[in-house]
């Protein structure tokens, strides 16, 4: 019998050990061992509620283990291993520490049975993940990191407000299904959908992920949004609002991906699009939809990791992250393995049959069909087209092939990325194909029994039709779809401009008023100061003005203070005393 511990403790202990150790090989071993130990630990965790402790009058639960939490826990732990293999070559061990804290706190969220525990890990997640952005150490990533963490802390405050209202009104801190409609549930939902990157609360994602370190971004793609999907599945299934938000979200990401030139930001918009499917599944709320959302989260984490790792590898070896700087450089000749592995991820996200997106994404569409939601089904179907168009066609075309425009600089000395990066991509790509070819392994761990057969002939043919004709349309617009050196306005515009407005208000307006008042009053304040040092000069000025003498005011005021100039000569004093004594003597004699 293996003693099981909360997974979060394994990750936090690993992070602490890395801080204490000095030897590189030991640190690498710990970083890789932590996910392995956590996985073995997961395999031995029985369903139930355990690891409870008393805090004030409430019971905190660190281990609420059921089928839903286990699906997410499995993929999070697998992903942390893949991410660590990808990142093992880096020498800044702080990144490992941040990553382990990030993953650990996500697992804390997954197994949290009460709202306090949930909130604490929710906040650790935000703080740990922003370190992965800041480790890039550029001005852009510093700024993006600040925006990221401020938005998340704001979302955390909304969540906390909701939790407090919930606890006060119901007296319970249990993290269960919420009754949507109460004030508390609306605050909590706001906090959750902010982390799920639901527009218009999504801009932190497309802003910060491309600014993160190459290896850090791989971790970030997996945990924040998918843990938000988990908490939504747990607490808000069947909320109609989420159906529409999810469907709109899936198309929103697609539209922005058309315009994007930054290769990782394009993928980030596709995270938004894909999480849209999951959010929509949460809203649909049927057993099939919840299975679909969970399965899609599982598959999405794996293929998105491949895609981000592929683009990360391109940035690692070329130092470039804009499509306009990469297209037409024939990279496919120099890094073919990366291209092949990337394409596995691209086919998976596009739901090509035999890849894992096909077995999960279509389940959500089928659930929409079963619930008779025609418009939702068509919107999700349309988003599939956009997904293949960008991730499967436009991005690989622009990065590895593409047409050269003008005589741009060549990229010299490019070769495949380090072995560990390729290995990590290989593991993730293998899992994408494995779960695609043999979906039973995934379907068996889903929250509800699965009655869905993805490989019905008409499904497969329909999907191939859709994708082939997307390819045909891409061919027509191939010249238009190259990168354009622009940035796209998104909802971060509002808080960026609000920030600028605040700065303008404080710096220009308030500070302007202050400096205007200061400069107009400063000479007066100065002379009052000088007069107060030597008040005699004031008298002198008054006397001068009464006498009508024209003495320059500045000359008097700037005259250094000299105590002797105002001291009466001692002879006058002595004379006055003698005169006084003289009269006193006469008075004394007379009176005597």
């Amino acid at each position: 019998m293996i003693n099981i511990v909360p997974p979060v403790l394994i990750y936090f202990a690993g992070a602490l050990l890395i801080l204490l150790l000095r030897k590189r090989i030991l640190i690498q071993a710990i970083a890789l061992l932590v996910p392995v130990i956590a996985f073995v630990n997961l395999l031995n965790m029985p369903h139930g509620v355990y690891w409870t402790c008393q805090f004030l009058d409430y019971e905190l639960i660190l281990g609420r283990v059921d089928r839903l939490s286990m699906v997410f826990a499995y993929v999070f732990v697998i992903m942390s291993f893949i991410g660590m293999v990808y990142a093992i070559h880096i020498k800044e061990y702080g990144q490992h520490v941040a990553a382990l804290l990030y993953v650990g706190s996500t697992l804390g969220v997954v197994f949290a049975g009460d709202l306090f525990t949930l909130f604490v890990f929710w906040e650790i997640m935000a703080i740990a993940s922003v370190c992965l952005v800041w480790y890039r150490k550029t001005k852009a990533s510093l700024d993006a990191g600040f925006r990221y963490v401020l938005v998340h802390l704001f979302g955390g405050c909304m969540l906390l407000a909701g939790i407090i209202i919930h606890v006060v009104t119901t007296g319970s801190i249990a993290f269960e299904l919420f009754d949507f409609g109460t004030v508390a549930s609306k605050f909590i939902l706001f906090g959750f959908i902010l982390n799920a990157a639901v527009p218009p609360l999504h801009a932190w994602l497309s802003d910060a992920y491309p600014a993160a370190t190459i290896t850090g971004a791989v971790f970030m793609t997996a945990f924040t949004t998918k843990s938000a999907v988990y908490v939504l599945l747990r607490s808000f299934p069947g909320v109609e609002l989420l159906v529409w938000l999810g469907a709109i979200m899936s198309l929103y990401g697609v539209i922005y991906a058309v315009l994007e030139n930054d290769i990782r930001r394009l993928l980030a918009y596709h995270i938004i699009s894909q999480v849209g499917y999951m959010v929509c599944g949460v809203g649909l709320g049927s057993e099939m939809a919840i299975n679909g959302s969970s399965a899609h989260a599982f598959c999405h984490i794996l293929y998105k990791a491949v895609l981000f790792m592929g683009m990360g590898a391109v940035i690692h070896v070329t130092g470039r992250e804009k499509m306009t700087e990469l297209q037409g450089r024939d990279l496919y000749k120099k890094m073919p393995i990366t291209l092949v592995l990337y394409m596995v991820g691209a086919f998976s996200i596009s739901a090509v049959p035999l890849f894992n997106g096909f077995v999960s994404k279509t389940m959500i569409g089928a659930a929409a069909g079963l619930l008779n939601r025609p418009l939702i089904e068509l919107m999700l179907h349309l988003a599939s087209i956009g997904t293949f168009l960008h991730t499967g066609l436009k991005l690989p075309w622009g990065v590895w092939f593409g047409l050269k425009k003008g005589d741009e600089d060549e990229i010299e000395d490019v070769k495949e990325p380090p072995f560990n990066m390729l290995l990590a991509m290989g593991i993730a790509a293998f899992l994408c194909i494995f779960t695609g070819v043999y979906p039973k392994v995934l379907y068996d761990i889903l929250p509800y029994p699965v009655h869905y057969h993805p490989y019905a002939a008409s499904h497969v043919v329909g999907m191939i039709q859709l994708l082939l004709l997307t390819l045909a349309a891409f061919w027509i617009y191939i010249d238009k779809l190259g990168g354009e050196a622009t940035v796209s306005l998104d909802t971060d515009w509002f808080y960026r401009m609000f920030g600028r407005g605040c700065l303008w208000f404080c710096n220009r307006l308030l500070n302007g008023i202050r400096s205007g008042v200061q400069s107009s009053l400063s000479s007066e304040v100065l002379s009052v100061g000088k007069i107060s040092k030597n008040p005699y000069v004031f008298l002198e000025m008054v006397i001068n003005s009464i006498q009508g003498k024209k003495v320059l005011y500045q000359n008097i005021i700037n005259r250094p203070y000299n105590e002797n100039s105002y001291r009466i000569q001692i002879g006058i004093g002595a004379c006055a005393a003698i005169i006084f004594l003289f009269f006193l003597g006469i008075f004394y004699i007379k009176a005597g």
Binding site: L382, V461, D490
Partner: protein
């Protein structure tokens, strides 16, 4: 080369159209799922709509110079 690829694409489109008739959807939820070549039409038109609408939105409003926020 390009010509070869193009003909491969045309042939495969023709093949999947025929396959659409061979394997009709046995459990359609909506009327359009009964049409054997619906996904062919939807894929083509959908893709064009996505490209044109997004590019129009981008050029008319959303796309700015790279130093916009500096």
């Amino acid at each position: 080369m390009v010509k070869k690829l193009k003909s491969i694409l045309y042939i495969s489109i023709a093949v999947v159209c025929i396959l659409g008739f061979v394997f009709p959807n046995k459990h359609p939820h909506f009327w359009w799922q009964k049409i054997p070549v619906f996904d062919v039409v939807y894929g083509f038109i959908g893709c064009i709509v996505i490209v044109l609408v997004s590019k129009w939105l981008g050029h008319a409003w959303l796309m700015k110079k790279e130093d916009y926020y500096d």
